[in-house]
Symmetry: D2
């Protein structure tokens, strides 16, 4: 056997595209972080330094900004599909392209009870994401959010777990449950690569459903909570094929105040940084066992 | 001349205190990052390794958590004043103590149109801060916020500036103005160390005023905008003696789309990371010149 | 079709394990960041909140620290193999376990020309990594490094690339090439799960070879440089089956000093943060085409 | 009393200046992060939006890069003094200017036992710093380092400290002492603003002395260690007037392995993130009491 090139791809990461829509005096803003990556038969660039089939990452960057103007940004998904299509068209040897977008939300600044026309304050909180993967045969869209930080101050337990000789954790009947969630849902492929979909409406609906399910589900483990959240999303959204979670269990430890003559019935906690539990799960459609 | 100990202080930084108020089924949450620091005659610890007058940083930590229970956290300012008073009382050789608090806000998760009793989502956006400095003679309270990210998509210019042979910047008649602001306002000392003040109401009012002034002031430079914001706060709040700003000018550069046959009348920008302008200014009370 | 649980796993991430070996007066230190994750039939925890087969992440943490004592840390790989074996043994329904380790290196502080017995300074620079994946059938070891920041001030070009109407980049005959490299090499499975291997010696040899190849290879693109580095490693190390790279092209842009009457023949650069090129490639063994 | 402008300054922060010296085939590299800030009578910019006396931050950036060529970078101090002088000269109403520089060190990549001519690997570890403050009357130079991470695995105790009812910490006879140090030393003003000084040699000497003193001083508290380090520097360097430290006590907690039937005589520790002790001290010249 010899030594050969395996899987490879290349692109421009973290293009900070800010698009102002100023067709009227009431401006709109979209604030994106865009990464593109092409894959295909780029072997000659690796083995012979031959760039003749390599669309430069600088050109990918230019295209990302030009498409913010030419195509506009009605949603991250719609923009990513268009941008990916262009990059694939411009690169004959490419088999596929991945476009990742992170979006920060902005709110209008409130002045005298109304949102201002052209002044905004960044919302903070979670980042909306999409990863669009295009080949010559079609598109796959996976949308989601990251760093959605949620906490329940009661309604969570963890007990009856497997024990071995290294287990010191006591059963917990009532604890804080907190996580900084990443969720990604994969859309059922559309005949039209999803061009008719209202991606923004689905995003808002899924986000609201995730939050409400987190709030209202009694939790016997973070695993159970994630599964309930995933179920709720799949039940409500036929257009979603699958949803995946990565959820650090951000531990809040009850502080022992007894040495100071104080009781602490679930009132004072220390929030820990590391280590943290990390729970990952996918909820999908299939035959129940 | 010999070699001597100069200014010194010590404490525990970044205690992550989370306090749940669960007196009723409708819980409240306060999420703080607390740092304490004592100063005074701690020379013997430095020169002779004598710890007999040194209240351990571990004890300062314990006290920060105990006070979250004993005194509670109606506001960062009120809690910091109480905690600082305790630490000063417990450390005879201390002349002064500084307590810094950063607070993250949480919102109730909305379920069926109403906020949930015990499930929360972290708001994101700016962090509320306070720095309380106590001596045996009194207290100084400086409150503020950091990382308030604001942007105007028009209503900002920068022109007529000083030029030298290294100046290449053209005049700008219409640009994006954006910053991640830090503001800190110093309260007029109160007879009672401010114990009767409604710190939360003032915070909300100042924050709203800063935002509204940013939105509605035409900007001929970030300096002018900051000064206007400071003036507005001092005019509205007699209890505030002074306000200081540190405001990175987060540059958004208009992308040149002309090579691609596209015009770009203030629509597509690249958000830059570094370098950034950094404007710092204090607005205070005094005799006008 | 119904809604079912898909792939899932859970564990404790970022256990900061510091191990001092003090059998003699000349101490040794290993400074690790350890993450473990179990997978298998944990469906009941998700669907019914039944934890009876779930070894708590807290127990995984305890085991990580206990194994630093019981088994010791002669290398990240050796420790990870032992820890993974224990976790798999302790969890009957687990099919597999992944143990990831990041290691920071420390040097002895030099005193009078010799390394001190028990005082250390952290080396900085790259982090050594290993990811060990164990199933009931065997082990896979992937070792590497991340954040190895390297730069060539000449000996790099980029030209003759594919152009379209969004291409503005000129050919570059002589540029800075810089990257913060992540490399991961997969070991050929050993009959004994690698227990006889000298993981530390291989790490040092591969690191040196990556650096020397980077330095001495004329670069017609970062892709070519990565491929050369991978080839060199596979040629020299039969025990390595495959090596993968993720390499951000950290752009250094030549500053235009002509407006100031200064030439700039490759002397003054601005280092950019974002966007950056991102090149990913695997070099493997196989039939050459 | 009216409302007036208080202290203010402005500039360009974090210019990432990379300078290659390529006068011979053996290149040199300096990798700086440069921030400049002007102060003086800039009131009109704040109150009237009048920029006529304001040298743009963009011009400050241009000058930082031009000076890397015109003046060169023999040391951060020398470059900062020259750059500051230029900015002050170019801005009539400025009273003073501050130039801050952070420098990352690079090593030559070793090939066949020798350092390569034009290939480098970033050293990591501590960052060298300087803050030069210039007025029309003279210069003050404060140099230092930050993030020098050091650890002693024995030779450190903490006991006999002040106790109150919130003290639970036991005496420690033998503990890990670790910190990520920031040190800054102020130079005695020179008749020539220090232009004849060998800043690089002093930096290397102070760094070595700090490390050696940390290593060889038995520590009864971090305070005592810092004071010893400061004394050693002032005793050896007449050109240094004062040295200040900020040193987080990076706690390493001994893990209780007794529940698992294992003893742990100072061998296995968990490195904690937050909270941390924070010790700040200045050692200066003056009359001993």
């Amino acid at each position: 056997m010899g030594i050969v090139l395996g899987p490879n791809r290349y692109g421009k990461a973290e293009n900070r595209v800010v698009r102002i829509v100023r067709d009227t005096e009431r401006h709109e803003i979209r604030d994106l972080n865009v990464s593109t990556s092409l894959r295909g038969d780029f072997a000659a660039a690796h083995t012979d330094g031959d760039q003749s089939q390599v669309l430069p990452t600088d050109t990918q960057k230019n295209t990302a900004f030009a498409w913010a103007k030419k195509h506009g940004i009605s949603s991250p998904e719609d923009y990513a599909l268009a941008l990916g299509g262009r990059l694939l068209a411009a690169t004959p040897v490419a088999d596929g392209v991945t476009v990742k977008v992170e979006e920060c939300a902005w709110d209008r600044i409130e002045v005298d009870g109304a949102g201002h026309d052209h002044a905004f304050v960044r919302r903070g909180g979670e980042v909306r994401t999409t990863t669009v993967d295009l080949t010559r045969d079609g598109a796959q869209v996976v949308s989601g959010l990251q760093d959605l930080v949620v906490l329940k101050s009661t309604g969570s337990e963890f007990k009856g777990f497997l024990r071995d000789e290294y287990t010191t954790l006591p059963d917990a009947d009532d604890r804080i449950l907190a996580t900084a969630m990443r969720a990604e849902w994969r859309y059922v492929p559309g005949a039209d690569a999803g061009s008719g979909r209202d991606w923004n409406a689905t995003y808002d609906a899924v986000r609201a459903l995730l939050l409400a399910t987190f709030a209202t589900t009694y939790s016997r483990a973070l695993q159970e909570t994630l599964y309930a959240m995933g179920r709720a999303v799949l039940e409500a959204h036929d257009e979603i094929a699958e949803i995946s979670f990565a959820a650090p269990n951000k531990h809040h430890f009850l502080v022992d105040l007894a040495p100071f003559g104080l009781d602490n019935p679930g009132e004072v906690f220390i929030a820990a940084d590391r280590p943290y539990g990390l729970i990952e799960a996918t909820v999908t459609r299939g035959e129940e066992r």
